[in-house]
């Protein structure tokens, strides 16, 4: 049986520093996998290796059984791998709707058709559905740069879902989001996971968020996988507690 994502023996060394040192794990169809670990454990480097931002020193990444190591980010995206960023990465000079259309347009038709076809590449209905889903209706025509932090965070997430991705890698989706919104964000993510049939990998520091959202959790420490299992099992794993609390 093939996995949606399979990371096997991945290593990334910067000079003598082994940021990622032989990581292997799999992600199954439709699941929400949490990826946690203390600061500097190699989570972000791992993300960047999976997403083609960095070239791994060793090891392979497979998407539905196909090796995707070495592909460019744009190519990966068109294969259905989408992501959000830890820091805000919306386009401040485009409107909210334009941001969403941008996020979907490269998945529609050919280059030439995009040039001569409709201005919105036929994506306005999809974008408006996404806007409504994330409660941004009243801001649809505002420039994204004028939105509040929380609103931009939602837009950032919405952009990742525009193209109906197969796999979404979320980098700290809860960071900077206030408590009242957190529950709802979790709810939105669950709905998307269910309705789009998308598979998620979530990096997050907020333990409660991860534990309640994810079906399975991978813990990293010092570039290696430390533990893997259900949220309940991880919560009680002494090695994990040790790694987090340190000495």
């Amino acid at each position: 049986m093939t996995h949606v994502l399979e990371v096997s023996g991945l290593k990334k060394h910067f000079g003598g520093v082994k940021a990622v040192d032989g990581v292997s794990f799999t992600v199954e169809e439709g699941e929400i996998l949490g990826l946690i670990g203390p600061n500097g454990c190699g989570k972000s480097t791992l993300f960047n290796c999976i997403l083609g931002q960095l070239t791994p020193t060793e090891g392979a990444v497979r998407l539905d059984g196909r090796v995707i190591t070495g592909l460019y980010p744009a190519q990966l995206n068109r294969l259905g791998v989408s992501r959000t960023f830890q820091l805000l990465q919306v386009f401040p000079n485009l409107s909210v709707r334009e941001n969403l259309i941008l996020a979907g347009q490269e998945h529609k038709g050919t280059m030439l058709r995009r040039l001569f076809g409709a201005r919105d590449a036929g994506l306005t209905p999809d974008a408006d559905r996404m806007i409504a889903f994330f409660r941004l209706q009243h801001l649809a025509d505002q420039k994204a740069g004028g939105l509040s932090y929380g609103q931009q965070k939602l837009l950032d997430a919405a952009m990742a879902f525009m193209a109906g991705p197969r796999l979404v890698l979320l980098d700290e989706p809860a960071g900077g989001v206030n408590l009242t919104m957190l529950e709802n964000l979790k709810e939105r993510l669950r709905t998307i996971n269910r309705e789009l049939g998308a598979t998620f990998v979530v990096i997050e520091h907020n333990m409660d968020f991860v534990m309640s959202l994810c079906s399975r959790v991978v813990v990293m420490a010092e570039g290696k996988v430390l533990a893997e299992g259900s949220p309940a099992a991880i919560r009680n794993d002494p090695a994990v507690i040790e790694a987090y609390l340190g000495h």
């Binding site: 910067f14 931002q53 960095l54 070239t55 980010p73």
Partner: protein, 291 residues
């Protein structure tokens, strides 16, 4: 062999001038993200100011003194205070465009305010030949190399051996961190602008006897400084130094051995290849691919 040695010395002399301009260019870039397209005009102007002084009847030494002080004040302090400071926060390109406009302004002001024609400039070194390893070498070329090297070594000693110099270098390498460390960053940035002006001054007094003082002299020197700084990695004084000498050498050797008609293109093409193979420049630091 005789010819080759002569060409090397001539190339080093040209390169020394480029290096002086390029080092200042790099310093100013490091501390304030200023791409100074008026750098060539900075090298052109001091000589013109000296001539303005002598034409006004000042004795030569006084003209040199007045011109030097006026230039460092105007284009060291004034340049930073009235052009760079207000524009810095708007990013690299608008500031670069502003220096481009400044370059036209300085050039045209020198032309209209002084003379459209080249003028002879008093030489600090006599003409003459020195015989070295059987080759007759120009005394002035050697003098240019020596003075430039002394200036550069002096700067290097200042940076590495004095407290102020080290502080300045720290500022140059990372202004944000320097600010956090409580270094008087603004003063250090000003210092780099003053050093830039002084280096330009030295270059100006060295070349003008040979190139003749003229409003348009900055065009080729400014371009060479820009190229030397890029080749050197844009963020390294040693890089700018190497870049300057390299361009001077390639230029002279090309003119003699490759093609005079394509002389200006050959160093550029060679360096483009270098840049494409090693995008961080000759001595630049490598950064991870981000796209």
């Amino acid at each position: 062999m005789d010819q080759f040695l002569q060409l090397i010395v001539a190339g080093l002399a040209t390169g020394a001038i480029y290096a002086l301009a390029a080092i200042g260019f790099t310093l100013v870039w490091q501390t304030s993200q200023t791409i100074n397209f008026a750098q060539g005009e900075f090298v052109m102007l001091p000589a013109i100011l000296v001539l303005v002084g002598t034409h006004a009847g000042l004795p030569v030494w006084a003209a040199f003194a007045v011109a030097s002080i006026a230039f460092v004040l105007l284009f060291g302090f004034g340049f930073k205070r009235f052009l760079v400071e207000p524009m810095q926060r708007h990013g690299v390109l608008p500031l670069a465009i502003a220096t481009m406009a400044l370059s036209v302004l300085v050039k045209e002001a020198a032309k209209n305010g002084f003379s459209a024609e080249a003028q002879p400039f008093p030489s600090l070194v006599p003409d003459g030949m020195l015989s070295l390893w059987g080759a007759a070498l120009s005394a002035r070329d050697l003098a240019i190399v020596v003075v430039a090297v002394v200036a550069i070594v002096g700067l290097q000693l200042f940076i590495t051996r004095t407290r102020t110099g080290r502080t300045m270098q720290a500022t140059a390498q990372n202004p944000t961190v320097a600010r956090i460390l409580g270094i008087p960053v603004e003063r250090m940035i000003l210092l780099t602008f003053l050093i830039n002006a002084v280096l330009a001054l030295v270059a100006s007094y060295l070349v003008s006897p040979v190139y003749l003082a003229k409003f348009s002299n900055g065009e080729s020197i400014g371009l060479a400084a820009f190229i030397a700084a890029i080749v050197g990695g844009f963020n390294q004084i040693r890089g700018a130094l190497a870049g300057g000498f390299l361009i001077g050498l390639i230029d002279n050797l090309t003119a003699a051995y490759v093609s005079s008609a394509y002389r200006t293109a050959v160093p550029l093409v060679v360096l483009v290849v270098v840049i494409l193979v090693k995008p961080e420049g000759l001595l630049g630091r490598k950064e991870e691919r981000t796209v």
